[in-house]
């Protein structure tokens, strides 16, 4: 029996027995109920025995819940700054004798203490501030203890012990480091940028060592890195390993609300995923982010976001900032400082202000920004990678970190706005971009499960398929190289490399996926449909496993490419599979994209029946929108669906709702005009049909004549234009038979 069921049973028997006042009867009942279950009997008896005491215990507890208003006020106001009752100097905590108070940090007070046994030595003893659930803290520490013991690095202060004080607060014992806070040391000694970077590299090595032992620090910040002098040489020491994890535990949203200030101190060093507390596991890449902040501060004297501002802005806003706002580049932030401030910052770095700015500009900017990526997949993969890039900079070799390409920046904008929309904020922005976001939310949930399953399968297969894996590795390398080419905008080379990859490996790197997308687009824009088809079909395979936000955009592009390349059988297969995997979506945006993609060519009755749920979802998204705002993108799937159904009145009505008569430049208006023209023709409104068709044609032709670039979400992406052109051909054949489509449009 599951523990769950067992408890339910115990509760049921207990409660029934409790309500049988007469003891003999109660015993009889228990004999019956627990006839063959001695464990149950014992558990219920225990509950019955506890019951009388429980009433008293709870009543007494309740009496503590009545208290004077001033006490309440003291509590609720004092949580933040309640004076900490100091441990008495000279007193004993476990085997440690407190000698001297040496500091107070975000989450506790640090003492110098003397250990008597088993060895006599001085240690640092940190008492955690909050009266937390001491037992759990210590238990969590215990879990990490073995791993912590494995760490042995000259730049790491060892954590030796943990326990509870007399007053029930958790404490940690560490190797005593007599040093100064990293940033303070650097500024006091006016270390120049190179010297600072050299210290930073040492810190990276320490963190890398810990990562290799499976320990994530989680709280890297200047006050946790002390610099000591060994024979005049500065040696940074990272302290507090394992403590953040122990005291963070599983903070719930609610405890976080009031507790994060005390627990975590400044959020300035917190990675977006840490601030999110979303249950997303915090891993080594979080430390990389914090190292990025540290480097930022070493270089500029500022953190990317001001810690105090973050706290002041409240939890939600803080999360939003960390998740969405792009920090200024290090060189750029210096230019925003006032004259004297800038001068001081530069002097502390042994440089003139203009010199300092020019030092940071370029490579160092990009190294820092790569470490600070919001998406942890885009950060350096390891601390070592970060350290190596810094080293390359010092050796004057080219660094790996690169300024983001224009296309990449656009992608990022799209992704960011999806996040915004996910929070239900910038509806307007999302409309402009024509992107749906619940798509993203909807897919994310599925992702986790898929990924889990995939990982499991992968592990099992790994043993069997060494050979295949080797090939995959080669493919992966090619794809990664292609990604590099894409980042340099050398599309031809990238296309060639990807062409050599016969079967793309499952789950290529994030950059690799983008490479497929970028190359596919580049080929499509050039009209190289066959190659584009292959890239897109590969991308579809990848998307099945690794769906990112705008995945339905990929489907849309793929559908257009397949039709345009003339691969009608492939298009048919694609539609079938696509409908299958999205049929249950209740998300209007996703439904709309899939729907119009699958209705791009005339369809059969059975296909129409199949897409019914998508049509309903798409219409539900579209119809409530205010016609004045010209919800054009949403009108396309809805009206096209109605048109394909033969419901021409409804199709016309919907086209008109979404149509902006003034607009002569966007793919969405052109597409709506085409649909409207076809619907009018079928309804016998021949004059209107011709006018609308002509209007749409001139827009589309002008676009293709001027050259279709990738485009954007406002005027239309390239595939939106291809989409419009395909429908335009259909409409022309319908309205102006015999087909005499202008050659320019069918190229």
């Amino acid at each position: 029996m599951s523990a769950d069921k067992q408890k339910q049973l115990e509760d049921a028997v207990f409660f029934t027995a409790l309500n049988i006042g007469e003891l003999a009867q109660r015993k009889f009942f228990l004999d019956q109920a627990c006839a063959d279950n001695a464990g149950l009997r014992a558990a219920v008896e225990a509950l019955l025995v506890a019951q009388a005491g429980a009433e008293h215990f709870f009543t007494k507890g309740r009496s503590a819940l009545r208290f004077p208003a001033d006490e309440l006020a003291a509590v609720v106001n004092g949580i933040k700054d309640a004076p900490l009752v100091d441990e008495q100097l000279g007193s004993q905590i476990g085997p440690y004798k407190l000698l001297q108070r040496i500091g107070e940090g975000g989450c506790g007070v640090v003492y110098m203490a003397e250990q008597e046994r088993p060895v006599r030595r001085r240690v640092a003893l940190k008492v955690i501030k909050l009266g937390m659930d001491t037992k759990n803290v210590i238990a969590r520490f215990g879990a990490e203890r073995q791993a912590l013991a494995l760490m042995d690095h000259p730049n790491i202060a060892r954590v030796l012990d943990a326990g509870a004080t007399e007053t029930g607060r958790p404490y940690f014992v560490m190797e005593l480091v007599r040093g100064v806070k990293l940033t303070e040391y650097c500024d006091l000694n006016n270390l120049d940028t190179r010297q600072r970077l050299n210290l930073f590299i040492q810190i990276c090595h320490a963190i890398q060592h810990a990562h290799q032992k499976g320990i994530v620090h989680r709280d890297i910040k200047p006050s946790n890195i002390l610099v000591t002098l060994h024979d005049g040489v500065p040696v940074p020491k990272v302290i507090d390993f394992g403590i953040a994890k122990a005291i963070e535990g599983k903070l719930t949203e609610q405890t976080l609300f009031t507790a994060y200030e005390q627990l975590i101190g400044t959020p300035a060093y917190m990675s977006p995923e840490q601030a999110e507390m979303s249950g997303l596991d915090v891993d080594t890449r979080s430390d990389i982010y914090s190292l990025g902040v540290l480097l930022y501060e070493l270089l500029t004297g500022r953190t990317p976001f001001d810690g105090k501002e973050l706290i002041k802005s409240g939890l939600d806003e803080m999360r939003r900032t960390l998740r969405e706002d792009e920090p200024r580049r290090p060189s750029n932030i210096l230019t925003t400082l006032h004259g004297t401030e800038l001068k001081a910052t530069a002097e502390h770095r042994h440089a003139e202000a203009p010199k300092l700015i020019s030092i940071l500009k370029g490579d160092l900017d990009w190294i820092v920004m790569k470490a600070l990526e919001k998406d942890r997949q885009r950060r350096y993969e390891t601390v070592n990678g970060l350290a190596m890039d810094v080293q390359r900079y010092l050796n004057q070799e080219p660094v790996l970190a690169r300024p983001p390409s224009r296309w990449y920046r656009f992608e990022k904008l799209v992704r960011r706005n999806q996040m915004v929309f996910a929070l239900g904020t910038a509806v307007a922005v999302a409309l402009i971009l024509g992107l749906g976001t619940s798509t993203w939310l909807f897919l994310r949930e599925k992702d986790a499960r898929r990924e889990q399953a995939w990982l499991r399968g992968q592990a099992e297969q790994a043993q069997k398929r060494e050979n295949e894996l080797r090939q995959q590795t080669e493919a992966r390398e090619k794809i990664n190289l292609a990604a590099v080419y894409v980042s340099q905008e050398k599309y031809e080379q990238a296309a060639q490399l990807l062409d050599e990859v016969k079967t793309p490996p499952p789950k290529p790197s994030f950059d690799g996926v983008s490479a497929y997308r970028s190359v596919g687009e580049w080929l499509a824009v050039q009209g190289r449909w066959r190659e584009a088809t292959e890239r897109y079909l590969a991308l579809m395979e990848i998307d099945k496993l690794d769906k990112w936000g705008a995945v339905t955009l990929d489907y849309q592009a793929c559908g257009a490419v397949l039709v345009e390349s003339g691969g009608l059988a492939q298009y048919e297969r694609f539609c079938r599979a696509t409908i299958d995997s999205f049929i249950t979506t209740t998300n209007g945006d996703a439904a709309g994209r899939i729907l119009k993609t699958c209705l791009l060519l005339p369809v059969t009755e059975s296909r129409l029946a199949q897409v019914q749920p998508l049509g309903v979802a798409a219409e539900e998204l579209f119809l409530p929108q205010d016609p004045k705002t010209f919800p054009g993108w949403a009108a396309i799937p809805a009206s096209l669906w109605r048109y394909r159904q033969g419901n021409y009145d409804q199709a016309m009505e919907e086209c008109r709702r979404g149509l902006d008569e003034q607009d002569k430049t966007t793919a969405r208006t052109a597409t709506l005009r085409v649909i409207l023209a076809m619907a009018c023709q079928k309804n016998g409104r021949l004059e209107i049909a011709r006018t609308q068709l002509a209007c749409a044609r001139s827009t589309v032709e002008a676009k293709f004549a001027s050259g279709v670039a990738r485009g954007d979400g406002n005027l239309g992406f390239w595939y939106d234009w291809v989409f419009a052109r395909i429908l335009l051909r259909e409409a022309a054949a319908l309205i102006e038979p015999p087909p005499e489509l202008p050659q320019a449009a069918v190229k």
Partner: protein
């Protein structure tokens, strides 16, 4: 509710009535962000009420959680609101806020009382008969964590009843249970929690 999430500043005390109504509706739709926001609002309101009480003539008067929670309800939502669902969410958040406050108070008490001397809140050798009311609160709170793992619903009932001071009827409305099941769970939870504490 869409706009709420983006509010630039979280000055909960300045929140007006319609805002909390919107938050409550968002909570009803299951939006997690809003629960957190609601908790923040209620917590701030409780804090504000306490400050007002302390400054006014009523200083020194004894407060009861139930009364305070109801007062916060009137302050924030007003007497006109009749939706049971809204009330339920509100009281849920209020119970959480009270729990937090009460635990902090108990810890503070324990700290002041023990102040570094030899006394300690350690169940190993704590005589339950001699435990102070504040100790009881802390022990119950700790045991609740364990109960929440075994039976989250039962643990929730304890939070609402013990910390929120809700009646069985109110708890039943809040959780969508019958009054009788609330009664049963409450009795079972008390016995179980106490048996754990005692056997520790």
């Amino acid at each position: 509710m869409l706009l709420l999430v983006t509010r630039k500043n979280c000055h909960y005390a300045e929140t007006n009535m319609s805002e909390i109504t919107m938050i409550l509706q968002a909570v009803a739709r299951g939006e997690e962000k809003s629960s957190e926001e609601l908790f923040g609002l209620v917590y701030e309101e409780l804090r504000r009420l306490a400050a007002v009480r302390m400054a006014g003539e009523a200083a020194g008067q004894t407060l009861q959680p139930t009364a305070l929670v109801h007062e916060a309800w009137l302050q924030l939502v007003g007497s006109g609101e009749r939706s049971w669902q809204n009330r339920a969410h509100f009281f849920g958040a209020a119970a959480d806020a009270m729990r937090r406050i009460l635990i902090d108070k108990a810890r503070r008490k324990a700290r002041l009382k023990h102040g570094g001397s030899q006394a300690r809140l350690n169940v190993d050798d704590l005589e339950l008969a001699e435990s102070s009311p504040d100790d009881n609160v802390l022990l119950i709170n700790e045991a609740l964590e364990k109960l929440a793992q075994d039976d989250p619903e039962q643990a929730r009932i304890v939070v609402l009843k013990f910390f929120g001071g809700l009646t069985n009827l109110e708890v039943a409305e809040t959780l969508g249970l019958s009054e009788r099941s609330v009664d049963r769970h409450w009795a079972c939870a008390k016995a179980r929690i106490f048996s754990w504490i005692r056997s520790q």
